[in-house]
């Protein structure tokens, strides 16, 4: 499988800011970051790499671009950091645009390469350091920066206004009540067992997912709440653009919202990067070793509801399905077995992808790459032909994608390579197979 060669991409978030840069200014920012934000970890990784290239075959970008070494993980580090370090940051502005293109649009920081590196070097961390440098220089792909601007203003990633958020929840509550008697989305309930958070595309363009969860919570008799105030969005593209200060503000808002409502734990909707931001990167920037209150991903939550019998499966989804295993919850958190168990519990014709579990390929959309916007869509889809081949080989009709980035990314791959498949969140499968007891029928 392959797509046509790509034209040069113009991007206002990269082309305009580099006009204001000078080698001196770049050097100042680079050295500040080297001296104050990186430490032994960075040096060890840089000095340990023996340039063996074993990471190459781990990368879907490399495999999907005719094994061009420029797309290998080590190649990306070589083209960016090695030069920056060698020249102590004194590089031309055009070079920073190249760094941004490589680090922001051609790497999903999915960490598959680290599993194949003989030294376990976290190459994603190195490319996130490149992103940090680019962000501090103001060179970030336009639509990724726009997403970060939204995070900074609204604390959600899609410019959802406060009134729009609450209005959407109330509308979805109405829809849920039409299916399940007295289903609710309890706003600002203090002391609930579950604080449920979502990512902004849900209220913006996929509101029915919130209605679905209201039905699931009602059927499973979960004591839950959502906040009417900021902190409801668990996503964090600022983590991926390199704007760590905005990342910290977004994460604080999310955890503070749950703490303010005295919730026992946070359950996050189906998103992988958001989980990484909320569990790992965000809390640590703020000073927390772990999230201040327990936080689990929807896959974990669904597993709990199904295995404890709170959700009863009365029929199995029979259309052939496969799965896109989100990097940040499978490779990053080890939820692969639980995900497989809930698929087995709900689907009768599962076609496992190959490779799978933590070895599965990234969807190509994660790591902020899909947020780089339409200008970069063609390169993103071209850069994951291995995923298209992998999905096609399963013979499945549906790809279960318990992650928003995976969902959109796989949709683009299905469309780009004309695979004739469809994507579904796991909650959409659940809605087709769970029992709604008679007393709860609307």
């Amino acid at each position: 499988m392959g797509l046509a060669p790509l034209p040069l991409v113009n991007d206002a978030g990269m082309d305009l800011p580099i006009q204001e840069l000078t080698p001196e200014r770049i050097a100042v920012v680079f050295n500040r970051i080297m001296n104050t934000e990186t430490a032994a970890r960075f040096k060890v990784y840089m000095n340990t790499c023996v340039h063996c290239g074993l990471c190459s075959d781990a990368c879907h970008w490399f495999l999907s671009n005719d094994r061009d070494p420029r797309f290998s993980p080590v190649g990306k580090v070589k083209q960016t950091l090695w030069t920056l370090v060698q020249k102590k940051g004194r590089v031309q502005p055009e070079f920073i645009k190249e760094c941004s293109r490589i680090a922001q649009t051609e790497c999903n920081v999915c960490r598959r390469c680290s599993m194949y590196c003989p030294f376990g070097i976290d190459i994603a961390y190195l490319l996130l350091t490149v992103r940090r440098i680019c962000s501090e220089l103001g060179v970030v792909p336009q639509f990724l920066q726009d997403t970060v601007n939204s995070h900074a203003v609204t604390l959600n990633q899609m410019w959802v206004k406060q009134d729009e958020w609450i209005d959407t929840l109330q509308w979805q509550e109405d829809d849920a009540r039409a299916e399940v008697r007295n289903a609710r989305i309890p706003l600002d309930k203090e002391g609930a067992d579950v604080f449920y958070s979502v990512i902004a595309p849900e209220p913006k363009i996929l509101a029915q997912l919130i209605g679905n969860i209201a039905q699931i919570m009602a059927v499973a008799k979960v004591d839950w709440t959502m906040p009417s105030f900021d902190g409801w969005d668990n996503s964090n593209m600022a983590m991926y653009s390199g704007d760590f200060e905005t990342m910290g503000r977004v994460e604080r808002s999310h955890h503070d919202a749950a703490l303010r409502l005295k919730s026992r734990r946070i359950v996050m909707g189906e998103c992988g990067h958001a989980f990484r931001g909320a569990v790992y990167d965000g809390p640590k920037w703020l000073g927390w070793r772990e999230p201040p209150i327990p936080l689990i991903h929807a896959v974990d939550f669904y597993h709990e509801l199904i295995t404890t019998g709170r959700l009863k499966i009365i029929k199995k989804f029979s259309t052939p399905v496969t799965v896109q295993e989100p990097c940040n919850i499978i490779r990053g958190r080890g939820l692969g077995v639980k995900l497989r168990e809930i698929i087995d519990a709900t689907c009768s014709d599962f076609r496992p992808p190959e490779p799978d579990f933590e070895h599965n390929y990234c969807c190509g959309a994660g790591g902020g790459v899909i947020n780089c916007g339409p200008n970069w869509k063609a390169s993103r889809v071209k850069g994951n032909s291995v995923k298209a081949e992998q999905l096609a080989a399963t013979g499945a009709h549906i790809v279960i994608t318990p992650c928003h980035n995976c969902h959109s990314g796989i949709e683009d791959i299905i469309s780009g390579y004309k695979l004739g498949m469809h994507v579904k969140f796991f909650s959409e499968i659940l809605m087709e197979v769970i029992e709604i007891p008679d007393e709860l029928q609307a």
Partner: protein
């Protein structure tokens, strides 16, 4: 409990030992849906949004429904002064209902119901055909904005402020955004200055000044007071507070040294921390406490720059001062168990949840609402002295410190109890 509530409490009934004010199970018989319960500060009233019919909701207070019914109703709250408010909608028009009476104005949407600390003023953010703004006790800001994102009210309720978007922004327009299109509107009048972002504002005690977190450019944040920025800039800042009785401002700022508290832009406490936030002055207006992280993954309280000897692994909520400002307590979580720490010493027992602690008027005792499983208890100086209850709200000391007001639901009945502290301590 702050000084304002303490003053209000002087007029409450502290003599009647127990009042069974409503049978909540009866509500469930009368209404097909009973939502979350709220109680007035004095405990005399308990209320909930209830479903009045297939398609309508109302508010039930001590078992009695309001005369008004609504297509939607939410954000039911008692003001500190004991007035009951709800945001409600009929025929696509939203308004605020105050004790079953609507405000004059209706809006396309209403949210962020908030009160002045003295309890006299209620404010909401509103959206109308003309744009976004705020309404206080039914009086709506004259000017409207592209967007408004917060509602802050001064202590005396005379002034209100919110962060506002001054210009429209198209999808993906990072150039206009970079110029700064956000400001702070005070009583509906925006600051002249524009910023990339405006967050977390605070009024001075006299309500004449306003400070807010602002972002000047990526990686450069500071505090603006009445629109004028501090000279010093930081990588990041958190919410400011005014020193009581003055127009000087304290806020956390992040520099290459770490997080530090700053006064008007200069370091206040020299020691940098991994984190510092939620700084708060005692009632004397002099002692200052804040939540700090002295070491990565450890949390504590610093008072006047001195960190408690105890640190906690998970979280420290906020400092709560005694009335004489000599003592500080906080709800803390350590190794996944909640408890209360007083002057750095944690209670022995851990709980599934702990709410903010409150000092007795003389500062010698601390009370808190805590939860074990789904049962609620009163904890006094570390001992469970009352409970379990199905629902409970924060216990309040009487002004003389002799009694505790406990508001609870027990066996589906709502009680307002006045309990002698001496008796409780014997348990």
């Amino acid at each position: 409990m702050n000084e304002i509530i303490s003053n209000l409490a002087k007029s409450w009934d502290w003599d009647t030992p127990s009042k069974n004010l409503s049978d909540i199970s009866q509500w469930s018989s009368n209404f097909s849906e009973v939502q979350e319960l709220v109680t007035s500060m004095d405990g005399e009233r308990i209320a909930s949004v209830v479903r009045a019919g297939d398609e309508s909701f109302t508010v039930c207070v001590n078992g009695e429904p309001w005369s008004n019914t609504f297509e939607k109703a939410w954000s039911l709250k008692f003001s500190p002064a004991g007035v009951l408010f709800v945001i409600a909608m009929n025929e696509d028009e939203w308004s605020v209902f105050e004790e079953d009476e609507p405000w004059n104005d209706t809006f396309e949407y209403v949210w962020n119901l908030n009160f002045s600390p003295n309890g006299k003023i209620a404010g909401v953010n509103v959206r109308s055909a003309e744009g976004y703004g705020a309404s206080l006790n039914g009086e709506t800001w004259e000017h409207k904005f592209v967007q408004v994102r917060s509602m802050h009210i001064s202590n005396d309720g005379r002034n209100s402020a919110g962060s506002v978007q001054m210009e429209p922004l198209s999808e993906g327009d990072i150039v206009t955004f970079k110029k700064g299109i956000w400001g702070l509107a005070v009583n509906g009048h925006p600051w002249e200055q524009r910023f990339l972002n405006v967050w977390g504002c605070a009024f001075s005690g006299d309500g004449t000044r306003v400070a807010a977190e602002v972002r000047l450019k990526s990686g450069s944040q500071t505090i603006a007071v009445d629109g004028i920025c501090w000279n010093e800039q930081f990588k990041a800042v958190w919410e400011p507070v005014f020193i009581p009785g003055t127009h000087e401002v304290i806020a956390p700022g992040l520099s290459s040294k770490g997080w530090q508290l700053h006064i008007n832009g200069s370091p206040l406490w020299n020691q940098p921390f991994n984190q510092v936030w939620r700084q708060k002055f005692g009632p004397d207006g002099k002692r200052l406490a804040a939540v700090v992280s002295p070491d990565f993954g450890r949390w504590s309280i610093a008072v006047d720059g001195t960190v408690w000897k105890s640190t906690f692994s998970d979280v420290v909520i906020e400092p709560i001062f005694s009335f004489d400002s000599k003592h500080v307590a906080a709800a803390v979580k350590n190794n996944n168990r909640w408890t209360i720490a007083v002057d750095g010493v944690a209670w022995n027992q851990g709980f599934d949840m702990a709410w903010n602690p409150y000092f007795s008027p003389d500062g010698n005792m601390v009370v808190a609402r805590i939860a074990l499983g789904k049962n609620y208890f009163v904890a006094l100086d570390g001992k469970l002295v009352l409970g379990p209850f199905e629902e409970m709200w924060d216990p309040i000391f009487s002004p003389d410190g002799e009694s505790l007001l406990v508001k609870c639901v027990d066996d589906s009945r709502y009680f307002r109890k006045i309990l002698p502290v001496k008796e409780l301590l014997k348990k």
